[in-house]
């Protein structure tokens, strides 16, 4: 399992465009956003946060577009299916390395951007945590969407899974408005944590089932 993870990580690190590309797109959009505003405009918390969430979601969609297609096309996915480890382990290894190389940097950059854009008082830790959790959920669902529409471009799968992500976005929004009002937001954070704890172990099984149908 750990060996598998290191192999996937190795493959991904060596393929720079699969993670460095989306990250630079993210930075460029972050630069572009303040340019559309006046220099002395103060960003509102709500706008900045929702901007960051949506952009993270889009960048993750972009970066996961071909995760399974490459392995499917060159035949290494078949080999993984025939190996002695569980096929879902292979999917988890892919998800984990994606989170490591894309999800975590995205969260950190979002957090840095927040520091520069709005006055952070009591939101420091919780905003970083919410970025990490939401990006983890986004990555899982985008993998699911890409597995569904493997050979047909990722658009189709994303069309179907994006509605599944709306509740997550709503939870994020609720959490923020509660925090801004100084209310207790820990239940929203727990809800988010619950979502990622469910999707983390469950998604690889669903995805591997779908991939198996593709391989038939």
């Amino acid at each position: 399992m750990i060996r598998l993870f290191f192999k996937e990580l190795f493959k991904m690190v060596r393929q720079l465009r699969s993670w460095l590309g989306p990250l630079s797109v993210f930075v460029l959009i972050l630069v572009a956003f303040p340019l559309t505003q006046d220099i002395d405009t103060k960003f509102s918390h709500q706008t900045t946060f929702s901007f960051l969430w949506i952009i993270s979601l889009l960048v993750i969609m972009l970066s996961t577009e071909k995760v399974f297609l490459e392995d499917f096309d060159d035949g290494s996915m078949e080999q993984h299916l025939l190996k002695s480890y569980n096929f879902s382990d292979y999917v988890s290894a892919k998800v984990t390395s994606s989170f490591l190389l894309i999800g975590i940097p995205l969260s950190c950059m979002s957090w840095l951007f927040l520091q520069s854009a709005v006055a952070m008082t009591n939101l420091n830790l919780v905003s970083l945590l919410s970025f990490l959790l939401s990006n983890f959920i986004f990555i899982n669902f985008c993998f699911f969407g890409n597995a569904v529409s493997l050979k047909r471009g990722s658009l189709l799968g994303l069309l179907i899974i994006t509605p599944l992500l709306f509740p997550v976005l709503i939870i994020l929004g609720k959490m923020l408005s509660a925090a801004l009002l100084g209310l207790d937001y820990s239940n929203f954070l727990l809800l988010l944590l619950g979502c990622s704890l469910i999707s983390g172990p469950l998604m690889p099984f669903v995805i591997s089932y779908i991939l198996k149908i593709h391989l038939e």
Partner: protein
């Protein structure tokens, strides 16, 4: 006995025979009933004392939005049957529902927009129900494009069924979360709830219009599932002999 009957009816061949027989009378009855319900609702019900005559679109809007959700549930039911018992007929029916469901959902949104202009002064509001109906429309459209993107029908069927099930779990979640989202955010000035006390004189044609519209749509489902069967079973001998 029951199993035998089930098996016999569930074969595409006998379903096709029965469907061919009942399709036209079925459609005719419900078209007439729907026209009657509309006429009753549009011409012979009293005017609403707040909304005036514009409320009458309720007789088209409410059936459409009700049926759009019921169709998804029927599709999910068929998908479960397909995944568990591998009954091909059920996936044929489910697949032929998708475009009809999309059309009905679109009609529900469209008629709602028309109704919105005189009553709220805007054709669109990011309200809980409208948003979740829009998501329903997107899911229907996604399903249609999903099935048409596979060459291998058997794989396409299984993906279709899986995604329908994902969607049907999704819909109550979205509905709940969207409700939750809008109830805290939105001021109470505009809500989409029905007129608080609806007159029985309006209620009777409303129920009739829902019932007859549902029957009408089911008639169309029968019609299009027959074509689906013909398309998919075209290499079978009984189709060739038709």
């Amino acid at each position: 006995m029951l199993k035998k009957f089930f098996h016999q009816f569930a074969s595409p061949k006998s379903y096709f025979r029965i469907a061919t027989k009942i399709q036209n009378p079925f459609l005719l009855i419900f078209v007439l009933l729907y026209v009657f319900a509309l006429a009753w609702g549009l011409l012979f019900t009293p005017e609403d004392y707040i909304q005036g005559n514009s409320y009458r679109i309720i007789f088209m809007h409410v059936p459409a939005s009700f049926v759009s959700q019921i169709l998804f549930l029927i599709m999910a039911f068929c998908s479960v049957i397909f995944l568990v018992w591998r009954l091909k007929l059920s996936i044929y029916v489910a697949k032929s529902i998708a475009p009809i469901g999309a059309a009905v959902t679109f009609f529900a949104l469209f008629s709602g927009s028309i109704w919105g202009i005189p009553t709220w002064g805007t054709w669109w509001q990011w309200d809980a129900r409208i948003t979740s109906t829009l998501i329903l429309l997107i899911m229907y459209l996604g399903l249609i494009s999903l099935h048409s993107s596979f060459n291998n029908y058997e794989k396409a069927d299984r993906f279709f069924a899986i995604i329908v099930l994902a969607g049907v779990i999704n819909i109550p979640i979205i509905k709940k979360s969207v409700d939750w989202w809008s109830t805290l955010h939105q001021s109470a000035s505009i809500t989409l709830t029905d007129a608080p006390s609806i007159d029985p004189l309006m209620l009777a044609p409303l129920f009739l219009s829902i019932f007859s519209f549902f029957g009408l749509i089911m008639g169309i489902v029968i019609l299009s599932s027959r074509y689906e069967i013909l398309l998919r079973e075209q290499s079978k001998s009984w189709v060739k002999s038709l």
